[in-house]
């Protein structure tokens, strides 16, 4: 099965990036063969809607499941529409979550995390224009 993993690095030894929208890399892996491709997250440079871009990318790559940490409400809406199941792989490496996924040991993420969690340290209260 084709799965997407939000990752902090470019190979299967990298940790799962707990932020989906602003994760560093997106790994698209085959859970059976463990073959994988790695992509820069297209959402990371967005001033807003990072998760929306990242979710569309995962859908475009035709992944059936996503393993990450927290997913914002907008991204989750897109993933739901695309029929992509989301799992929590916080604290594990990409290789470990592929094994856990195959053994059905990962918990599902059904509720969105906090919106704009990746923007917490921006200056001022308002969003940009």
């Amino acid at each position: 099965m084709k799965i997407a993993i939000s990752a902090e690095g470019k190979d299967l030894n990298s940790s799962v990036d707990p932020r989906f929208g602003r994760c560093s890399y997106i790994i698209i892996a085959d859970s059976d063969s463990k073959g994988f491709e790695v992509y820069d997250n297209p959402g990371i440079q967005s001033t807003q809607g990072a998760g929306i871009q990242a979710a569309q990318f995962v859908a475009k790559k035709k992944a059936e499941s996503l393993i990450t940490g927290k997913v914002g409400p907008n991204a989750l809406q897109i993933l739901d529409s695309a029929g992509i199941k989301v799992y929590n792989g916080t604290g594990l490496t990409a290789a470990e979550v592929i094994d856990c996924f195959k053994d059905d040991m990962l918990s599902r993420v059904n509720e969105p995390g906090e919106a704009h969690a990746g923007l917490k340290y921006r200056h001022g209260r308002s969003q940009g224009w």
């Binding site: 929306i52 871009q53 695309a82 001022g124 209260r125 940009g128």
Partner: protein, 285 residues
Amino acid sequence: MIISVLSGKGGTGKTTVATNLARVLDSAAYVDCDVEEPNGFLFLKPALDVRERVSIPVPSISEEKCTACGTCVEWCQFNALAAVNNKVIKFPQLCHGCGLCSLVCPEKAVREVPREIGIIETGTFNHSVFLHGILNTGEPLAVPIIKRLVSGINKITAQHVVIDCPPGSSCSVIAAVENSDCCLLVTEPTPFGLHDLAIAVELIRSMNIPAGVIINKADKQSRMIKDYCTAQDIPVLLEIPFSKSIAAAYSRGEMITENNEVLENSFKSLGIQLEALINESSCYS
């Protein structure tokens, strides 16, 4: 003269300064641009009589005409549209109302419809104009309301207009400050106050607006603000002392210049000092 009151750091006393300045200057209107939490009305106690809704245009997509080609999604700079499973999903809260989606749609399936994001209320205090904007709770975009408020200023016939700006130094502050003749930068003698003052100074310098500093809650620590201002060649126009009686008056919703003649006179002289600052800066430019 249009005077913007800003601070960088929140909670330094922008509203205290702006409302008291509007009170003591002859013929001064007050415009509260801190639309996320406007509170100048608590002090000036205006009679509000006109309420106007503020909307931004957002896309409405005809399901019959839309082929989910994704052109609008590609062009949207704000990620307010997404295409999944032959369907376009809208995120209206991310939309900045630029209208590009309706222009690029090859099927002419996108129409713009208004979405209300807040209101503007107009009224009077002491026979002067009072204006404030209120952004609906949870709305992320303050700028459209601030721009509408600021564009209403040229209709005001008062001699002076005092703009109470939002905190920070982001787009909403720039929108509030844009047409001002001068700025008052309110700070407090703390490392945070100094840090954010420096950012505010950088901002108004890039906009070429003359400015003076007001140190609120001034105490022995004020030296660090004064040293910075000397180094940057920005005048300190007023120090409001750290005082329990001022804090108590504020907490009761009273104007701090009302029963304090010394402060009242200091605020009155701010008008003259600002006019001098504007003249001085126009001499050099």
